[in-house]
Symmetry: D2
Subunit: 264 residues, 4 copies
């Protein structure tokens, strides 16, 4: 399907404020960007670079006054995400070098502390995709989706105790559980068609059967319409924006995803 | 200044034909892409990746029949390119690791064969920018710009003998001469505002005084309005498209660059 | 000074066990490896690769039975580490792209939670090196060095509460405090001449004044004799070995650092 | 088999002379370095980095006077190189991104000019490994191995005309022919056990059937005992040393490869 995604952020800046943005969806194996706009007002100099994960990031210094960032993207994405029941666990020695990184614990995914829990959740599963599907189902059924109640970001261990979280929290828990079983897992941020309430979204991917598969514990079942903005080890790597200096709160954060009437 | 660049390529394909395209201008230190379209008809699957130089490339297989690739980009670029007379030669031991690559000879820049000639052209120059400026002037004054007369690509040594060439040929000769003096130099392809006749363009950059500077031996003097699509060691690295299998000739190659009435 | 470092690890393996090792000190800007041995017994196939930080890593599967890894390296390193009092804070917009990564929170360095504490510790400091020196001194004076009492790795926040830790813990706290002030900081593992008790060691580096400087809160004052094995965001990235499957405990871990009588 | 390779280079330096060396064999998928020495006399500062192909390179400035570089390596390598008759041609659209680079023409491999010749040489071959084997046999039988008669490096096209060359020349011709058929091919430099006369050696690899295979047109038949120092597009990328400034000729270049009496 063809989607048009848009994201508008507005700030009221007091001091010159450095930002690193990650708002440019890239074409890749799973999506094709055919049209894109990226407006910054006022129109300050912007420097773009690729981070260690291949995400396109933009650096700028926002001047005092109203500051607006607006992106809009026409992108073709899958009508349905692939499922891979039966796709086998890949033994460590056979994983590609570039994937090993996603086995390590990270800021919000303390995979070093979830071994027993993951083993229990996946007891009896065929090793690989089916384990990840069991983890996804467990998170979906045991961690309540709840709009953010705290400004302090929580880690997988904290979310597990709390029993509730937002999309990034559920993804973190899924990732931590996978890695504790030596299954590479990574965070994805982006858009999802018909997400309710509409906002930026986060989900995760796990590497089984020789490729990455999509999992989303916040949705009742996996469907299509995902648009990726960035990949990373967890939310620390894929913030839509990192802002430095005295904190600045967005006064507007508006996200839209519309289906385009265009043949595939 | 703000420019809108567009490029349209049309082919008549007989057999399924793999292409690797390099037609996506990237935002970077010297330009900002605010809007972009990339249309492919028919709409086959496309896979995008970054090559070894950081260029965004697109892979696809064109099906038999008419095949069209069309890109359009709104981009902010400099009104004037920086000149750097007096910028010093950087000694090899002080060059950044990532730049060393651009000292080596390459397919179309046999820098190993231009040492004496470069020494002669730059005799008496202060080492660094002024040497490159002397090389640029020498190429401008001694190699006649001439529309392509042969389908076989020529190297710097061949162009030097022939005394004439197209923009990529003049750039190759400039690059080969710089490298023979241990000055890193690289090829750039992209667009130039008010190029006549309008087409895709090629020029070069040299690394002196701790940064890359732009040089263009095809133009009477350096002005602004350059839009970069890709960087590489020479034209072999930055083909707008590489096509594999039986050769396919574009039946249309249409390029436009328009100035947008937009404040900077 | 010239040092000979050696590290011997012995395991008693029950099941075929995948390992990823990071035990190959690399020559770099700050050290020169002139001789190196890397013995693995029994002599199974080993595959070497560079990780995302440029560290050389070795992959292998240890077979059941006794398993030994032994490395020995002759390396030239500095007699004294540079200090840089007065070296200025580099504003975010001026940091190299490759350094930005080291501003982010990571598994064991929850820099998102140390802003107030770091501001207090560094109150009145000139921005940059002097802030990091104040952090190093604070950690040295307030966190007791204490041999490991728990198998569970602790994070900077946990160590700060506990008031005691091993070298990696003190480094994590230093890193978290630096990053919370927007100063890039990274973990280093390796050897230190005359460390007591002798073992592998961990310290940190901070990026101020346009380069990386060494800090070590476990030592009463900074001296020379450091040999780097690997760099990373924190201990999760630079484990000397990651082992997968049922846990395997080393039955021997023997480390030596000897000064070689060789002119510099 | 276990080999001990050594290489000694001696220069008589007049002016301070920057060098970039590539003399550190790396452990990798096909060899394991268990012991290594790298001596530089006098003992100037050396900076090591990885180039764009992953080769470890060393930068230094040689001071006036006698200058010596000596490396010695104990390395385990294959007794026999794999052959892969029947391994299929990989279609462009299925090649890994990182391999595409090796399809392009390069300084000494003008693959853009060998299409007809390669088609003729491989007429009737099953597409893939068998084509490369036919190319290897053709070069072996038609280009006479001849010690270097000229200081000026020759390209594949020049060697083909001349009908004679050294090992790097034969490899270049093999590579150019492969690439003209859209088979990725790369240059390898290193050591070969029982090469006669003993020296550094060059051969090539081609990517068919989903992996790299070794080919060596200078040897009557493929055997084991290869030790890789570096990979690149051609000799321009994998010079054992690049020296800058007024040319400096090695007064000694001594290479040895000895079999070690060690069980595999």
């Amino acid at each position: 399907m063809w989607l048009q995604t848009s994201c508008e952020l507005k700030f009221d800046i007091t001091f010159p404020t450095p930002f690193i943005l990650m708002l440019r969806a890239r074409s890749g194996a799973q999506q094709w960007v055919s049209r894109e706009e990226y407006r910054i007002e006022p129109n300050v100099p912007v420097f773009e670079f690729s981070d260690a994960y291949g995400n396109l990031c933009q650096r700028l210094v926002a001047p005092p006054g109203p500051f607006c960032i607006a992106t809009r993207t026409d992108v073709k994405t899958s009508d349905e995400m692939d499922r891979g029941f039966g796709a086998p666990f890949i033994e460590i020695q056979n994983l590609p070098d570039a994937v090993l990184h996603y086995l390590l614990p990270s800021r919000f995914c303390e995979s070093d502390r979830f071994g027993d829990m993951a083993t229990e959740i996946t007891a009896g599963c065929y090793l690989g995709y089916d384990q990840v599907a069991a983890i996804e189902a467990w998170v979906r059924n045991n961690i309540r989706y709840e709009p953010a109640t705290s400004a302090v970001p929580a880690s997988a261990a904290e979310i597990n105790q709390r029993g509730a979280g937002v999309c990034r929290d559920l993804a973190h828990l899924g990732i931590a559980l996978c890695r504790s079983l030596s299954i590479p897992a990574r965070m994805v941020v982006g858009y999802l068609h018909e997400l309710y309430p509409m906002d930026l979204h986060a989900w995760f991917e796990a590497y089984v059967g020789g490729r990455w598969y999509t999992f989303d514990p916040t949705q009742p079942e996996l469907r299509g319409g995902y648009v990726t903005i960035g990949y990373g080890r967890d939310a620390a790597d894929v913030a839509i924006y990192n802002q430095f200096g005295p904190p600045v709160i967005p006064i507007v954060q508006h996200v839209e995803v519309q289906r385009l009437a265009r043949p595939d």
